[in-house]
Amino acid sequence: MKKNKSLLLLLTLVLAVGTLLAACGSNGGNNGAANGGAANGGNNTATDSGNSGEEKLAADQTLRINMSAEPPTFDPGQAQDSQANTVLNLMYDGLTRMDESGQSLPGAAESWEIDGAKYTFHLRQDGVWSNGDPVTANDFVFAWERVLNPNTTPAPPYSYQLYYIKNAEQYNGGEITDFSQVGVKAVDDYTLEVELVTPTPYFLGLTSFYTFFPVHQSVKDDEKWAVDQSKMIVNGEFTLTSWIKGQTIELTKSESYWDKDNIKLNKINMSIVNSSATELASYQNGELDRAGHPNGEIPTDQIPILKDQLKDELQIKGTASTYYYEFNVTAAPFDNAKIRKAFSMAIDRQLIVDKVTLGGQIPAFGFVPPGIKGLNDEFRTESKDSELFGENVEEAKKLLEEGMQEEGYTTLPAITLIYNSSEAHKKIALAITDMWKNNLGVDVKTENQEWAVFLENRQSGNYQVARAGWVADYNDPMTFLDMWVTDGGNNDAFFSNAEYDKLIQEAKTSEDLAKRQENFVKAEQILIRDEQVLMPVYYYTSVSATKPNLKGAVLDYSGAIDYSRAYLTEK
């Protein structure tokens, strides 16, 4: 699933939605953004990172979890998926760490100063690699240079995450060959200076992301170091002690980590099983301490039952991502905005989240999901998505008729909805097409396609309406809105609007945060309210189950998990 490929980042607002009932009850409608805090009773791990003192630690601090796929790499510079994210966060220490509320905590850097576009990080003196070498500013420069170097093989796919740094993009593109011109410098062993292209409000949070992790300089010219467990020298809480390909990964607590006194887990055993039903059975059987998102999945069918059976263990939380259908605005009949609007208004989102997706998702009427920061509060709180549009079958019918008249149709051309093969997408597609049929009288064929075939078709515009999902790269509305500019790399709807482009461009260069916010609001209005380039369906949630004796595992705003400070209490 695409969501797993997400980047995860930074500053957060916890959006805990609690149970499905709580979600529907408290929102009563379209926006579930604001009921922050954990609605399901504070017994879950995300909320009790401070330990209450009365718990007794279990003697055996071995955490057992499952991954639905093996991390494709243990090299932070090459990683690009959520499995690698979970593992790398345990093995490496970035400049900063993020707590559950999205605040940056000291990591390898003890403190930092921010002066506009200039950041100065002071590294801690007691930071060491697992082989005893000190972690220095040069290790960071080395790691970032490696990611940006155009000769690194294979080319690190996420090198563009470093493009906020001055001249980084030019160096990566080969226009500059002298790395000293790039805005990162080791002033001394323990001082790292970073200069950005423009002040970027979310940059500090990015430094806790794996592409920014340091790597030990012994990996120089050794492309295969990350395949060999004996060559993996790390600076984080855990080291990789066993890796049986396709079967298990074992991490063991590092005795050289600077904060080792606060690390209570001794071992983390990860199995690699990509069957959600098996994972859950295993969890219920006591073979796993946690199941579900982000490294696995709880079978949709079982969620309603588990809400009763595992009331205290099931946790549902927003993940700052949006599930939507996008229209190909260059393909008939969706080249007409009224027809697009008609389709979007004719479905019942609440019914879909209540009866089809079942995971406490929030019906979506906008593109920027809850959990993403706005000016002073969450963006979704400051700009309600209920103002963008609402469901209305009568209005939809009227719009459809008008649209057909405009285009001169007596009957609509044949329409096919494509989605990538998955049980969940299939159910949603069938529910939505059935609603279209009942409410608009339009027959839409559904077609599932194998993942790469699907992407190829969607990206080349060989479709009419297609399923899609988008996950935040960083905690800012920009990550959702800049993709829709004319000829944007991920603009699969082929939407093009001069005013929209202008708004985004202004927001990118503007240092005036209020102006930025205003532009984002306007842009989203064009995207959704005026043009309905896409049909938002719901905002994703992460559904997981945690054994009551596992504490301190932290989920961030994007649903990424940090086990490093987790611990097991006696049952």
């Binding site: 079982q302 529910a431 077609e447």
Partner: protein, 322 residues
């Protein structure tokens, strides 16, 4: 079949060319002698009819087939819904005869009774079509391989081996991309390598049979290759062939289910029994009916095919006659 050469011929060691010339048999006369085969089929039918188990299985198959086509249509007419009609307010309803959903509903509130039977339609079509194509290609191909042997066998065998080793999944994905996804495409994808197993079984049998006495006899009497193959060798290999066919029906049905498992099966909302079981698998502890009805029906179909296949084998096998 008392005229079967196997019984009347002396052992080949005692044969001398003169024995044959004396009788003066030519092609036509040989034909006359063996015209018995028509009554052999009647004979087989007779024996099949006496096999109560096999006849029950046949009856079950006929009933299932008729029900699969009539029931969804009839119930749909009465209650006014179809196999793809959603009812989101009534999802995962348990089976009950007091409601209109006798087999309950699935995760989109669709009627399981209609879906199970339409699923049976799809599975039957897929299974039978694939098995027939497998049989046709496999028998001809395997027969030729086994009969001619030598270079012909070597080359044809290699070809089938190569075809067999090409990753099936790649072929299927490509087929589904190139051709419109449809039932026909899936059947094609299933048969593209499905016949190979049959051809190997046939080849093995023929290789074993062709050196037998009766074949030798027939050959010395001047029977041509085609005649030998279709009159003598294949009928004698009918046992393993029938067993393989009755097994290739379930194989095809399960292969289709496996394709659904990978998202390459029939396109939703159409479902086969296999894909329905597959869909129900993650929640079967809580909604057992969603798996149970399709599973029972699929097992019943398999069971009936196998028992009927057994009966057919016993009836057709010329050597088993007492």
């Amino acid at each position: 079949m008392d005229t079967n050469p196997i019984k009347v011929m002396p052992s080949p060691a005692d044969l001398r060319p003169e024995d044959f010339r004396k009788i003066g048999t030519d092609e036509k006369e040989a034909e006359v002698i063996q015209r018995e085969s028509i009554s052999a089929w009647r004979d087989a039918w007779q024996r099949l009819r006496e096999n109560k188990l096999a006849m029950t299985a046949l009856l079950i198959l006929i009933v299932i087939t008729i029900t699969a086509w009539v029931a969804p249509w009839l119930v749909g007419k009465i209650y006014g819904y179809n196999y793809y009609t959603n009812d989101l307010l009534n999802t995962n309803a348990p089976p009950s005869f007091s409601s209109t959903h006798w087999f309950g509903t699935d995760d989109l509130g669709r009627d399981m009774f209609i879906r199970t039977w339409t699923g049976a339609q799809i599975s039957l079509i897929v299974g039978l079509a694939a098995a027939c194509i497998d049989l046709l290609i496999g028998v001809i191909y395997g027969g030729i391989m086994g009969y001619f042997g030598g270079r012909v066998d070597e080359i044809m065998n290699k070809f089938s081996e190569i075809l067999y080793s090409i990753p099936y999944l790649l072929v299927t994905i490509l087929l589904l991309v190139v051709l419109e996804p449809s039932l026909g495409t899936i059947i094609l994808a299933l048969t593209i390598t499905g016949w190979i197993n049959m051809s190997w079984i046939v080849r093995g049998e023929i290789m074993q049979l062709k050196n037998r006495e009766f074949v030798l006899a027939s050959r010395s009497m001047g029977a041509g290759s085609g005649r030998l193959l279709f009159r003598h060798l294949l009928p004698n290999a009918v046992g393993p062939i029938i067993v393989t066919v009755t097994l290739s029906v379930p194989n095809a049905i399960f292969a289709e289910a496996f394709l659904s498992f990978l998202g390459l099966g029939v396109q939703a909302p159409v479902a086969s029994l296999g894909s329905m079981i597959n869909d129900a698998l993650t929640g079967w502890l809580y909604y057992p009916w969603r798996m149970l009805f399709p599973a029972i029906l699929i097992s019943l179909i398999m069971l009936a095919f196998n028992i009927f296949g057994d009966g057919l084998r016993d009836a057709l096998d010329p050597k088993l006659k007492k």
